[in-house]
């Protein structure tokens, strides 16, 4: 079985995340870049299956600038067997449509039985890449899974749907996306980090994939304006001396909030 795990580098949510007000693009220098936690959890799902099923190939796939290579290596250090990184100048500021096309082309080229992604990323938070890729590849998709069972020819799980938990299943090949209900990834140990340096990391360009970033190739989503909202200021702070509950009630009444 060959599993592609889609890993994405994002600005650390613990840091001060900024958009460049001129280009509208994420300011990659403003905060520490990290591998998105949800994509590490996706990798863990694949590794657990691989641990129990020798012969499983786990490939980490990312579309990201060259500066993101350390994050891709981290996926190797955690345990992916190989990695593919798609790097191209024309992909700076790529919209969802182009991102999905590129990722799908790389998966098609490698040939996958199963594709595992996060349900939503912490920067773009689109939550649509998994179903877009499934459509491009002609695979079934099982999104927002809170539990999964991977079999040799099928995959099933519990989907956290809008109205409650729902059992879902599909024949492979398929695309699945997982939620935070899954555990955090194992921590890369020293052995893993050393091994990662020798593991194959293939860098592909758009030409290798036959994808056109040309603006006339398909409609794209573009940003037409970006503005910053002033940060919020702190207000009154009191320390409870036995009557803070009553003061809170008074505050809510004064402000017509009850």
């Amino acid at each position: 079985m060959k599993i592609f795990v889609l890993v994405k580098e994002v600005p650390d949510t613990y840091g001060d995340r900024r958009l460049n007000l001129e280009t509208g693009l994420v300011d990659r220098n403003a905060s520490e870049p990290v591998l998105d936690e949800i994509t590490e959890r996706a990798l863990e799902v694949a590794l657990e299956y691989a641990d129990a099923n020798p012969g499983t190939q786990v490939v980490a796939l990312s579309m990201a600038p060259e500066s993101a290579t350390p994050s891709v290596r981290r996926a190797l250090a955690i345990g992916a067997e190989s990695a593919v990184q798609i790097v191209h100048d024309d992909l700076a500021g790529a919209d969802l449509g182009l991102t999905a096309e590129v990722l799908a082309a790389a998966i098609r080229r490698g040939g996958a039985d199963l594709v595992i992604t996060g349900n939503v990323s912490t920067d773009g938070s689109g939550g649509v890449i998994p179903s877009m890729i499934a459509e491009h590849l002609g695979f079934a998709q099982l999104t927002a899974l809170s539990a999964v069972e991977i079999g040799s020819g099928s995959v099933s799980g519990t989907r956290a749907s809008d109205f409650g938990a729902q059992p879902v299943s599909a024949q492979l090949p398929a695309v699945i996306s997982i939620t935070e209900a899954f555990p955090e990834a194992r921590f890369p140990n020293f052995k893993g980090i050393m091994a990662a340096k020798k593991k194959p990391l293939e860098v592909l360009s758009l030409a290798d994939l036959g994808v056109q970033a040309d603006p006339s190739a398909a409609p794209r989503t573009i940003m037409t304006s970006v503005s910053e909202k002033p940060p919020r200021a702190a207000g009154v702070k009191i320390t409870d001396e036995g009557d803070a509950g009553a003061q809170l009630a008074e505050f809510l009444v004064q402000n017509r909030l009850v």
């Binding site: 409650g164 938990a165 794209r220 207000g235 702070k237 509950g245």
Partner: protein, 325 residues
């Protein structure tokens, strides 16, 4: 059948029992701000009537219907949306930014190569077409987006649009759909979560009371529910409270949970990690109770109380209930 020049095609989310989801009125209201709403209702045979009626009374000038087997995930809805799109030739397609809605929007945009804008909190129109408004990085930035050409597909954040359209007379048409044959996952029955009492839904609530790890246990989390009920508020939670099993994940507020902008947000025993603030810092009024005077939640609170939630909250509930009498 002909459709308005400036039609906006709205995909109505349908609940497992055939009702229109609560996002419907806002989706159609948003569509009416930029054109003439035409709704699409896709549901299993014989259960769509309530959703069709809801779409018309929410302001859809016509309602297209298609039958789809609920046991196939997403694909039948995408096939119907494609047929509706071809018939209506709209200026934009609006879909709820729900889990089901995002799946359909993603597949549909990939199939038709349409530009996709996600999680819009508002819509407008300029000389060149439809513009989607987004609130990103926890509301720190406002971004507008548009399609370079063609009709965009836009997912609209639940609870973010206040505009409502006038009810329209019922005008229903059955759509002929040819299945794409695209493989779909098999979907079983949804175990519908019983809605707790009459408590408002978190998304779009005007008041929210949230609890964090500081509540200590599932039993003690009841305090959050009690204050919520006193204030007729929805119940929210931090990720730590969800991870600890105090409440289901659907109550999580923040980066990877729900984003809320209520009139009042009350944070109980929540430290105010940046990922939590990302989902609530655009609230009009923020109240925080935390026993740690240095908790970062106080940096965004309009009214902060350094104290024990188990002392302060019961007293506040008592005072508020006394006033009601």
């Amino acid at each position: 059948m002909s459709y308005p020049e400036n039609a906006i095609l709205v995909l109505v989310d349908v609940t497992p029992t055939g009702e229109a989801a609560s996002s419907t009125a806002a989706l159609i209201g948003a569509a009416a701000q930029i054109g003439t709403p035409v709704a699409l209702v896709v549901a299993p045979a014989g259960i769509a009537q309530a959703a069709v009626d809801a779409a018309a009374s929410a302001g859809a000038v016509s309602v297209l219907t298609a039958e789809a087997d609920a046991s196939a995930l997403t694909v039948p809805v995408v096939d119907a949306l494609e047929a509706a799109y071809n018939a209506v030739q709209p200026d934009a397609v609006l879909v709820s930014n729900s889990i089901a809605g995002r799946d359909v929007a993603g597949r549909f945009a990939a199939r038709t190569r349409a530009a996709l804008a996600v999680d819009a909190v508002g819509l407008s129109r300029d000389e060149e077409g439809v513009v989607a408004h987004h609130s990103v990085f926890g509301g720190a930035y406002r971004v507008n987006s548009a399609a370079t050409y063609g009709a965009p597909v836009i997912t609209v954040r639940q609870g973010a649009v206040d505009a409502r359209a006038e009810a329209q007379p019922l005008n229903v048409e059955t759509l002929a759909v040819s299945p794409s044959g695209m493989p779909a996952a098999l979907a079983g029955e949804v175990a519908i979560v019983e809605k707790a009492s009459s408590r408002p839904e978190l998304r779009g609530a005007t008041r929210v009371v949230s609890g964090g790890r500081g509540l200590g246990s599932k039993e003690q989390f009841v305090l959050v529910e009690q204050l919520a009920d006193t204030l007729s508020a929805a119940v929210g939670a931090s990720r730590a409270a969800v991870d600890a099993g105090f409440v289901p994940q659907s109550h999580q507020v923040g980066q990877t949970g729900v984003s809320v902008s209520p009139q009042l947000y009350v944070a109980l025993g929540i430290s105010g990690a940046i990922q939590h603030r990302a989902g609530m810092q655009t609230s009009k009024m923020i109240v925080a109770i935390n026993k740690d005077p240095d908790a970062p939640i106080f940096d965004v609170a309009d009214f902060g109380i350094v104290g024990d939630v188990f002392k302060v909250v019961p007293q506040a509930i008592e005072a508020l209930e006394a006033r009601k009498k």
